[in-house]
């Protein structure tokens, strides 16, 4: 197994370097210097800024500097620190990128983690019910509403969610239950005020997709031989459903949840931007639109690394729980 993991890691290194290189190249299509200096800057100022940003170097040199920084630690004031995180943000002058990213992680997680838990619980329950009543009215109603829900834009859910959940509700109760916008984590009950509404919206949006997937997984399991055997043995439908089937269906379910884990860190971009939550997604959008290359590069490098590692771990997990799968 260790040989397999090592081989997968080695294989994924070019993929990882590839995404960073492509990102750096795509970002550099735009010239950030005029934006930071203003259109009337002198050519000397331009050259000085270009040098201080390291943009006068060829792309390959910049690429090498950045990627080597990802695996280097540097001594700062007697403390060993990650070199990639020490680079300075351009738009937030002088702030180390690592701190900036570190601050953005918690707001993102405080929305995505509860949303994932809630979505998974609800959609697995619905999927079980749906598979249990397969082809009958409850199943049809649930699947039709999933398709209907999937056909509406995410943005519409957010706009109406904010309108009904914040504006209308606050007016009705005459106070502020859900905040319209913003994020503060130092008040009591802040999570309910600032995060619960985005969590609920995110749950409703993702539920359709998840429910359909989980139901498909369960329906696929119902066609297997061991279910026929159990039925021939005379086991009740309920027992087959919850004892035999659910256990086997758990494998693809857990795999799917595992694969979504890295996305939690990236946060829900739209929700963060709309509700003004200072998370990773919003930081990335700002970095891309203000051409703050160090921040954008670090965020993408972190995410891609996390994603590739999770994919490898998911494959290993699959082999561990399902003896039919061999790692090779």
């Amino acid at each position: 197994m260790w040989a397999y993991i090592l081989r997968r890691v080695l294989y994924n290194i070019p993929v990882y370097l590839g995404i960073i290189f492509l990102l750096m190249a795509a970002l550099r299509v735009n010239d950030p210097i005029w934006g930071y200096l203003g259109k009337n800057a002198s050519h000397e100022a331009y050259a000085a800024m270009e040098k201080s940003m390291g943009l006068d170097q060829p792309l390959l040199v910049q690429f090498w500097d950045f990627t080597s920084g990802l695996v280097t630690f540097e001594e700062v004031d007697g403390v060993s620190r990650w070199k990639a995180g020490l680079a300075e943000s351009w738009s937030d002058k002088g702030r180390p990128v690592g701190d900036l990213v570190g601050d953005a992680v918690w707001p993102s997680l405080s929305i995505t983690v509860p949303a994932l838990v809630l979505t998974s619980l609800i959609s697995i329950t619905i999927a079980i019910l749906s598979a249990y009543y397969r082809g009958r009215l409850p199943d049809k109603v649930m699947m039709v509403s999933a398709v209907l829900g999937m056909s509406i834009s995410f943005l519409v859910y957010i706009i109406f969610g904010q309108y009904w959940g914040a504006y209308v509700l606050n007016e009705r109760i005459g106070g502020e239950f859900f905040a319209i916008q913003g994020y503060k984590s130092d008040e009591p009950g802040w999570w309910v005020t600032y995060c619960l509404l985005p969590v609920l919206i995110s749950t409703i949006v993702t539920m359709g997709y998840d429910t359909r997937f989980y139901r498909a997984v369960m329906v696929e399991e119902t066609g297997r031989d061991y279910i026929t055997t159990a039925r021939a043995k005379g086991a009740t439908k309920r027992k087959i459903m919850f004892v035999h089937m659910l256990k086997n269906a758990m494998i693809p379910i857990i795999t799917r949840i595992m694969i979504t884990l890295p996305f939690l860190v990236m946060g829900s971009l739209l929700l963060e931007v709309y509700f003004g939550i200072p998370g990773m997604g919003r930081a990335l959008l700002q970095a891309i639109t203000t051409l703050d290359f160090p921040v954008a590069q670090l965020l993408v490098a972190l995410f891609a690394g996390l994603f590739l590692l999770t994919v490898i771990l998911t494959d290993v997990f699959y082999a561990l729980v399902d003896p039919r799968v061999r790692l090779q």
């Binding site: 993929v15 970002l27 398709v147 209907l148 706009i159 109406f160 498909a216 971009l269 709309y274 639109t289």
Partner: protein, 398 residues
């Protein structure tokens, strides 16, 4: 492509699809949207100017909406202002003649006639305007009568258009107007063209690129396979929404910003991954089959086998992916518009939904409702079609 299409149409899957009423209905809906898109884009049913033309007061409710008293006062204020402002201009007669809201013109362009009419309106309007602030205004039937009389008087300053012009104006006002007084219906219908354009380009190009690369990768193997797999693994190592953002942001500040070009580029470079992966898997299976060995034994070249014997057998996957990418493109367009990286020069559903954020807070739902309805219908039809296609041609897919 004709041969495999015919074969696909005669296949068992196609017969299954033909019996699926819901799938047929969704194909009909998609066909209708396509027809409208062609009518707008090719035959100019609605021109770009008409979609940005002011046709009345802002945030006018649709034909079956009931405006509140405040809204009615707001509309009246708009019409009074229009005439009033004309008198501030250096040549009032010319300014009066220039007033034309989609066929709605002033009764007369004569300065004196209009000034006289305006004089009689000012006082009752101001009175009512102040009364409106007071509580219980809407409950008093007397106020109501005054409002209605004022509405008649103000309407008398304008001349309703006749015949076709009138019908066209009624259609334009059917779903109300947005914050800039533009027709919501015309914009939403014009946006069908934009959506179909984006969907078609994204889906056709992505499926084409994906199928060719996937087929080549699986069939030739070796380093070609490694390079293509590396390319798509690389691009799928970040969420597609971030990839779209990075790609669309490349055009910020360029002359293409706000046009459809950044959207096309971002979508085509992102969405080819799906079909590529699926087709690669399928071709891996197909190339081991006996008929391919037979073709090799006959002495056909490898490119010919790939193009004539293998790729045609992936047509069903192309259709499924086409449908899926079309949905993805329409939905992603809304998100790009919201992030400020999408279409700006033309009305699209994304632009409309994004613009309606302020209106929703004010309780005005017509624009978001119209854009969502038009988009919902098309996306729903494609969702149903994708499911039906998958059921018919690729039933093992989870």
């Amino acid at each position: 492509m004709i041969g495999p299409m015919k074969r696909l149409l005669r296949s068992r899957g196609a017969r299954k699809l033909g019996r699926d009423r819901l799938a047929l209905a969704s194909m009909f809906v998609i066909g209708a949207y396509l027809a409208i898109a062609i009518a707008v884009g090719v035959f100019g049913l609605i021109s770009g100017e008409e979609a940005i033309f002011r046709i009345g007061p802002d945030q006018l409710v649709g034909a079956w909406g009931k405006p509140t008293v405040e809204q009615r006062m707001h509309y009246l204020e708009f019409y009074v202002d229009q005439v009033d402002q004309a008198f501030d201009k250096r040549e009032p007669e010319k300014a009066l003649a220039a007033i034309d809201f989609f066929g709605l013109r002033t009764v007369s362009t004569d300065e004196d006639v209009m000034a006289e009419k305006l004089e009689t309106i000012f006082d009752p309007f101001d009175e009512l305007y102040e009364l409106q602030e007071e509580e219980g205004f809407a409950d008093d039937p007397e106020n109501f009568a005054r409002l209605e009389k004022l509405e008649v008087d103000i309407a008398a300053m304008f001349q309703q258009p006749e015949g076709w012009e009138r019908r066209y104006r009624d259609i334009g006002l059917l779903l109300g107007t947005d914050r800039q007084g533009r027709s919501i219906l015309l914009r939403a219908v014009y946006a069908i063209k934009v959506a179909v354009q984006i969907g078609l380009v994204a889906a056709l190009v992505s499926v084409l690129i994906g199928t060719i690369l996937g087929g080549v990768a699986a069939f030739f193997g070796g380093w070609v396979d490694h390079v293509i797999v590396w390319l798509y693994s690389t691009l799928s190592a970040i969420p597609y929404i971030i990839l779209l953002m990075v790609l669309a942001a490349m055009f910020l500040g360029s002359p293409f910003e706000g046009t459809l070009i950044p959207v096309y580029v971002a979508f085509c470079m992102t969405f080819w991954i799906g079909p590529c992966r699926v087709v690669r898997g399928e071709v891996m299976k197909l190339r081991e089959l006996e008929y391919v060995q037979a073709a090799t034994a006959v002495g056909f070249g490898r490119t010919r086998i790939l193009l004539k014997h293998i790729i045609p057998n992936t047509t069903h996957l192309m259709f499924i992916n086409f449908s899926l990418i079309f949905i993805g493109a329409i939905k992603a367009e809304v998100i790009l518009s919201f992030l400020g990286l999408g279409v700006k020069n033309e009305p699209s559903w994304g632009v409309m939904i994004n613009q309606s954020r302020q209106e929703v807070i004010a309780g005005f739902m017509w624009q978001i409702g119209a854009a969502t309805f038009f988009m919902f219908t098309l996306v729903l039809a494609f969702n149903i079609l994708s499911d039906a296609l998958q059921d018919a041609f690729d039933p093992k897919h989870v």
